[in-house]
């Protein structure tokens, strides 16, 4: 449920690094807490975020949840399919349900993110959304 090759933020976003580009989504745990995702709002390509800044919103029937950038940089791609298929986030949080690709401005920030083991430990200690 928590792939080893990903890095995890306390706010439940995952990051997959390929060269200088980070792909970002939300974890299995986050989508399970939110339940049926019915709406996703993502930023425009070209938007710039600093680490910890809100980059979008994800919503279930009942509530809205903010999304936070786990890393600083410029958005180079968004998953446009999610507008029509928000359910991909539930069905495939690490693949079809990806949200953004960010060109990292400060890859050293990756060191602040957790590995899968540390993220699992955080969940086991009772941290929820």
């Amino acid at each position: 449920m928590y792939p080893e090759e990903l890095r995890y933020a306390k706010s439940h976003e995952w990051t997959r690094v390929d060269g200088n580009v980070a792909t970002i989504g939300i974890t299995f745990h986050a989508q399970d807490e939110i339940q049926e995702v019915v709406y996703v709002e993502l930023p425009e390509v070209g938007s710039i975020f600093t680490k910890g800044e809100e980059f979008g919103v994800i919503e279930s029937v009942k509530a809205a949840f903010d999304l936070y950038a786990p890393i600083s940089g410029e958005v180079v791609a968004i998953n446009e399919g999610l507008e029509e298929h928000p359910e991909w986030i539930n069905e495939s949080p690490y693949e079809d349900g990806w949200m953004l690709q960010i060109q990292m401005s400060d890859p050293v920030e990756l060191e602040d993110l957790m590995d899968a083991e540390a993220y699992r430990q955080m969940l086991d200690s009772g941290e929820s959304l």
Binding site: Y39, V61, K62
Partner: protein
Amino acid sequence: MQSTPLYQQHEALGARFTEFGGWTMPVQYSSIIEEHHTVRFRAGLFDLSHMGEVAVQGPQALEVVQQLITNDASRLRDGQVLYTPVCLPSGGILDDILVYRLGKESFLLVVNAANTAKDWQWIREVNSGRAVLENQSAATGLLALQGPKSADVLAELTPFDLDLLYYYECVQTDVAGVTILLSRTGYTGEDGFEIYVPVEKLQRLWHAIYEVLVRNQGLPVGLGARDTLRLEMGYALYGNELSESITPLEAGLAWTVAFHKPSFIGHEKLRQQAVAGVMRRLTGFEMVERGIARSHYPVYIGEKRVGEVTSGAPSPSLDKNIGMAYLPVSYRQPGNELEVEIHRRRRKATVVKIPFHPSSVRRRSHAI
């Protein structure tokens, strides 16, 4: 935090829980959207045992009830039910309740869970010793069976001929061998029933209904779908659309204010407001631009902030994002544009008529 005697059954069915009015209640079992559609097309079973029940009895029972409520309980015959606000002298809504006439001198008031304590105090104060009052909330369980198939489900479990029971009528009968109070009422816009049962028989009744329900492709339903179902009908929810600073006239409940009654609490203020005219009225809208309006989001007409969203959600039946808000009365024509501030951006919405979705309740076509 209180929980109903069915907590463990809900847990075993995979329920997720939420806090509501001081109670831990199931918010969903499988999926809010699936549960919603199940009620619209088949049948759903709700545990509503958090609701409060107050019995008012004795020769002066009617007189006390009439003073408490804005609607007219003198119109009720035995076995009829009435929806009504209970107002403060200010005209503000203390609660919205159901009044059951069980007998000439016997009424049952069904109140919102979060308001049970304050209602009980208020009722005792207004009563001042005239009628015999009993707070039966802790001793009474409540199940709702809602949806077009609910009569088929219930017919398997009761000797009573359900064809005799119309919308807002009640009868004392047996379901699954348990003596209960049954009414053809609900909060979903579908045909359906509410069943009042002594708490010690609640589990037995739940299991009996559940068994027949699943054979009829029904599902248990949580408060999540209850909220989307009632919102599609434009039904007010206390704490969202209704509060002590909102009057029935503003909330679109003028039909529940019986000005012809000689007196009731709030009469004077409500009459004044009726004469002067209300400034704001509860109004439905649907989103035109992307975004889901939620409770408390600001609402704008042009550059002017005119209020806030009282309830808003994606509507599973309409596949649109809908909501309600108090708007200036002059601005309530369907098609008028407004804007809702969602995540720091204003997004276009348009006024639409309430209900958003047509009702399918089983009304008696003429008085008997």
